[in-house]
Symmetry: C3
Subunit: 294 residues, 3 copies
């Protein structure tokens, strides 16, 4: 017969708890309901609030709400690489704290809208010491450094995690916060350089960069400048934005990121954004390291 | 009335097999059923058909079907940046019309499969004067310039918006349309250059480029060449395809896009594709502007 | 307690309008509910197991679970381009077998998390002769070459296809497989070069590259080195990772990919990753071809 219709598929549904589910697709769509894979993506890693990562593994959760059995059913090798070399290996290397690894990972996931791992890693980030206000601020930061919709996708995931953990607006940084003190000299230099280069090419973009980013967003106190830089650099590497790494890696190191930490960011991010992104960043990172040593 | 709530939406659902479906969103979320994010992606911005953007804000919808309350619950700062600097700021700058901003934004969202903002911005585009046939043609154009699945993801969103607004196939450009007249001289030059460079590297790709793109797609009359170029350039910037910007920005300006408009595209796209994409495009755009002034 | 199951989660759902919602996830998946866009992404192309691509077209399925009517309702032109030039044209060109085209397409979709076309193309790949164990291994390979979440998203789709087709773990490569013999000389050279260049920049990344990739993943026998290379090159092109193409295209050709096949990969991938990705790869591919001919 070939195809069978959605309606048939549904009316064939087996009774659950004694009653058949009969839902017509059209009315669900009309009503805006929408179940399914997203179901898969949507839920917080079960019990992630209570358990540590090692326990999570014990209980079988490896990624998002796919559990180890799901991954095993498609790729035993991937399940093994996840449990061993990744969760039990890279995540435990001492060159970066678990908190920093969470910051890097969350930034990479948001930068690439990798929804399926967001619930697990947002929850893990909170467990690893990223404060709710910091996660909130990471999302806001990435609206500017990865795109508005990337941030909004993260909002959709974080909203439910915050709700379940009882995290209210009182724990979040206010819309308008008391800003950190600006290094006027450094900012004048930055603004002058960008303005000289591109002021005539896109005056609107140059102006918004100064007003919204460097005299506002970057000065919000709920995320330390060093962490804000870590988020930015992670997003740039994860999105293959090599042309922007030089400036921001330098800024990150000025803000306190050590060379050893920056080096290890590449190890962490290779898994979450793929080896090619990490390798494409290597020559730029090398260049930044070398220039700072002179 | 403007908005109607999710609960209302659901309880309005038509009876199926004799019984109404009454599912409360909160319990679904709590139960992990997932409704949710996808639900979020799926539905048209509530009341977007009837209300203007400013009214939308008044009613609280900021992005996709996340409303201002949802965003506020995760990041009051992001809610503020959205309502103020973005919707009430950038979108009102005179350098680009709201219609052009919608074209740029829709192209950027499709180019990056940023589903969560598609329902809102597809509806807004129609409200801003993009004709259904033009939106249809933008999606088709981006199948070639961003990937087949990008277009298909957009189809899944647009289909329901068209359905709700009663937009039928009679309002859409036909599969085979009467083509615009080709500038044979310019096309011969383009084809010769590409063929000389790459004819031996990938004869198949070179042939399809001529037959499907420049002697077919680009000549379809339902989207003006200038708008088609605007879509192309926006997608290239949004995907960091800097190597392809030079040719297509030149073509866009030949097709009537002014330098002031091109400059402002960068301001608009910085928000939707992120600052790094806009900044990586700046040197290339600068170069195009300078060469055309000679 | 740690985890609580999906079933528990659901049966804990609060009564709504007096009646509890009891929906078991398994039955939802089995019944094909999954409504909505995600439903759209989620389900295997209806009947794809039984029918060939040409029959698929006859029955109206063009992409994912969007059928031809859905595409037609938004863009008759896109429906026509899909049915004609793409499915009836490019896919039938003799320069690549349907199996190779499926490998390229699946790799491109996973590399870009283009969910909407995954169900259709995963099923088509199996129909075109890609073995379940090979699809499993492609997914695992892309965890490293495109990002962990890309692989996990593919797992979520493949899981249900495997389930429906009765593909069990016995048909999949084991977590730890007997490895192919390493070309020690070539690997020593590769490792030395990378170590000299970047050993001091990111010792962790360099070490993991050797241990996990070139002395483990690449030697797993369930995917032939030539196919593994084809997957890698396709992912690099599809993600615009031009800086990594030179090494991997050379490796692919060492592994048996012919120049004609590599050339045609560009034609195929232009449709699934968009023309700009294919064109940005052209100069690099040209360079590789020319250097090998000397």
């Amino acid at each position: 017969m070939g195809q069978f219709t959605f309606h048939e598929a549904v009316t064939r549904a087996e009774p659950v708890n004694g009653a058949p589910i009969n839902i017509d697709r059209r009315s669900l769509i009309k009503s805006g309901i929408a179940v399914s894979i997203i179901a898969l993506w949507h839920t917080e890693p079960l019990g992630a609030k209570e358990v540590k990562m090692s326990e999570n593994k014990k209980h079988g959760a490896v990624a998002g709400t796919l559990n180890a059995d799901d991954v095993w059913a498609v790729s035993p090798a991937l399940a093994q690489y996840t449990a061993g070399p990744l969760l039990d290996g890279v995540w435990k290397r001492p060159e970066l704290t678990p908190r920093d690894r969470s910051v890097v990972t969350v930034a990479a996931l948001i930068a690439r809208i990798q929804l399926i791992e967001m619930p697990y890693h947002f929850a893990l980030a909170l467990d690893n010491g990223v404060k709710p206000g910091e996660l909130s601020e990471i999302i806001t930061h990435l609206a500017f450094y990865a795109g508005w919709a990337n941030a909004m996708s993260a909002v959709a995931i974080a909203k439910d995690i915050f709700h379940r953990r009882g995290i209210g607006v009182d724990q979040l940084p206010p819309a308008k916060d008391k800003l950190l003190q600006l290094n006027e000299e450094a900012e004048k230099q930055r603004a002058a350089q960008v303005s000289n280069n591109f002021g005539a090419v896109s005056p609107g973009l140059v102006q918004k960069t100064t007003d919204l980013l460097f005299r506002d967003l970057w000065l919000r106190p709920a995320l330390a400048p060093r962490d804000r830089s870590l988020v930015t650099v992670s997003a740039l590497i994860a999105n293959g934005q090599t042309a922007q790494i030089t400036y921001h890696l330098g800024r990150a190191m000025d803000n306190g990121l050590t060379q050893e930490q920056a080096s290890e960011v590449l190890t962490q991010i290779a898994f979450y954004a793929g080896w090619p992104c990490a390798f494409s960043a290597l020559p730029v990172v090398k260049d930044v390291f070398e220039k700072r040593q002179k």
